[in-house]
């Protein structure tokens, strides 16, 4: 596909588990991301959902080239970014930016907001010549809904939602094409969360940004995403458009995940089916053979332990699902508002 701005192919990231202090030896691998492929189309939002430990944050780090992948490629406009270094990498970094989860620790407390947002210009002076930087920063502050007069304030003088806006302004400073958002609203209160989500949507429309939106909150992801990938233990188990995933999920894990989300409507209390998963997520050091979800799956058969189910379009479905027994099941009764 040529309209993909970012193309991820068979991405693998393993972290070695070592033993011993002087004579270190590798005794295992944490398979954080284990063969993930997807394309990000220009101007779209791809939501990545999954529970803790499924590898979604590692995925973000590899996409940003903060970690080198163990195998596989991340191709941005025809260039494999994991193979770049030096000047070429720096130039590319302009195009892909990151918004982090915790607005309290991701901003240097000793820098003013002006310095924080202006810092990218130091590294990429070609974007804004020295004289125009303050003006640019003011523009950015205004863009994300902060008062440009507050340019000399420090992060502690802002609330959580405002700090997240600073983080977004900083990510926007270099006019990137792709923004990877790693749980950007999960640390915020509901009323503030909605403000930041609306801001992200508005900026996307304004600048034609493409988002990789990583979150654990399925409602937030549905609201913002065009397509959604569901991850479990380092693999994508199901991927499709927002409607395909939420209205016609076929993978048992997706179905269980969706059914567990509490719906803010007490009248639904008694007429919803909740699929209760038992047990915990297995360790990514030694994931189960075959299908990784089989240890918690109610459909598991012998074949699930033997064969790794491929992420492919299954019979009776319209989008890829990595389950031998993929089957449509309605979980969320959606209505338009």
């Amino acid at each position: 596909m040529t309209d993909n701005i970012l193309e991820v192919r068979d991405l693998v990231k393993h972290y070695p588990v070592t033993q011993g202090v002087v004579f270190k030896k590798t005794v295992g691998q944490v398979k954080a991301v284990d063969g993930v492929s997807f394309g990000l189309r220009t101007g779209e939002t791809l939501g990545v959902v999954g529970e803790s430990g499924c590898g979604k944050s590692t995925l973000a780090r590899v996409l940003m080239n903060l970690e080198k992948p163990t195998a596989g490629s991340v191709v941005y406009k025809g260039q494999d970014i994991s193979k770049l270094s030096g000047g070429a990498l720096r130039r590319l970094r302009r195009q892909i930016q990151l918004v982090m989860q915790d607005p309290y620790t991701s901003l240097n407390p000793r820098m003013t907001v002006g310095d924080l947002i202006g810092e990218p210009f130091e590294i990429h002076p070609e974007v804004a010549p020295k004289g125009s930087r303050r003006a640019k920063v003011r523009e950015l502050l205004d863009l994300v809904g902060l008062n440009p007069e507050h340019i000399n304030r420090y992060p502690h003088q802002f609330s959580g939602g405002q700090r997240q806006r600073i983080g977004i302004a900083r990510a926007l400073a270099l006019r990137p094409e792709v923004i990877v958002c790693d749980e950007p609203v999960s640390a915020l209160d509901v009323s503030i969360q909605a403000q930041v989500m609306n801001l992200l949507e508005q900026l996307q429309g304004e600048f034609g940004l493409s988002y990789v939106f990583i979150a654990h909150d399925l409602s937030v992801v549905r609201h913002l995403s065009d397509r959604v990938a569901v991850m479990y233990l380092g693999k994508i188990v199901e991927i499709g458009t927002e409607d395909e995933i939420y209205e016609r999920p076929t993978h048992p894990y997706t179905q269980a995940l969706l059914s567990a989300v509490p719906v803010p409507d007490p009248t639904q209390r008694h007429n919803k089916t909740i699929i209760r998963l038992t047990g915990d997520v297995p360790s990514p050091i030694s994931p189960p053979s075959g299908c990784r979800f089989r240890t918690r799956c109610w459909k598991a058969q012998d074949v699930c332990a033997e064969q790794v189910p491929l992420l492919e379009i299954r019979r009776g479905s319209d989008h890829p699902s990595a389950c031998h027994f993929a089957e449509r099941r309605e979980i969320v009764a959606t209505h338009e508002v």
């Binding site: 803790s52 509901v190 399925l218 509490p262 719906v263 409507d265 009248t267 209760r276 969320v332 338009e336």
Partner: protein, 347 residues
Amino acid sequence: MSDILVSEQSAPGTGGSGRPSGRLLEVDDLRVEFRTRDGVAKVINGVTYHVDAGETLAVLGESGSGKSVTAQTIMGILDTPPGFVTGGQVRFHGKDMLRMSNEERRRIRGEGIAMIFQDALSALNPVFTVGFQIAEQFRVRRGMGRADAKKRAIEMLDQVKIPNAKSRFNNYPHQFSGGMRQRAMIAMSLALDPEVLIADEPTTALDVTVQAQIMDLLAELQRERQMGMILITHDLGVVADVADRIAVMYAGRIVEEADVYDLYAKPAHPYTMGLIDSIPRMDEKGQQLRTIKGLPPNLMNIPPGCPFNPRCPMAQPVCREKIPPLLQVGHARASACHFAEELVNRD
């Protein structure tokens, strides 16, 4: 559903009315402030709520609304200083706990009222085994011997559905997963059969599938034991699933209290309305989310009149002058809004 205790939200410093009412646990016109170097933050400004046996009261609010501080005051674990109770009562079986001796309060903790916290890893002691920490209560508070205490502790672990409770007894908290730790903490808090359980954001740190398991467990245990439960949370989804009544807090006040069905069907306070509108719903496809503009007030400088007025889409001049009291509107519900009647009677 029980009726609602309507407070007058009287002027600061008048304290509680002190009349006994036969309720299990009552917070009456509670006022707490934090005296810090930068000034005095009025964290709780006249909070009144109650919980009876067998019912679940959800206290809903955003950070800084005072929901956790109220719970800490009930439990007597408020950090003093900086926190000071400046008025009101917390009555357990009609007796004001704020005027009890430390010894009396200690007896109520665990046996009368117990609490579970958001972060189980920091609530459990890392250097003792989980089993020891549960058994300790039976030994100290019930005078049991080591072997009996261990047996009871294993029973408790079983009750909260920890698999292989016997072998898990000797595990340390770090050997448990997040969901397991939360179960262990529930076992610990229920060990002495409390009449009221305060759950402060019990599932906020957990994944959705685990959250569902824990909420199920809590609901089940509550039903079996006919406990009163105070569920403190910011999550409107969780509340809709388990609560009987809801008290919504804003800037240290209850702004609305209602039966769970009434509250979601027709909120009687603009803040509640804003909250419900601003959550993305998985079962709805919509465009822009409606938001509540602005920020919660600085508790050192709460705006005059209704504390919500700078953010309120309905604000009138009267809202900047008079603090609206929490008054009954319609059937068994209360709202602290000058225009509550209009909100309830709208179509």
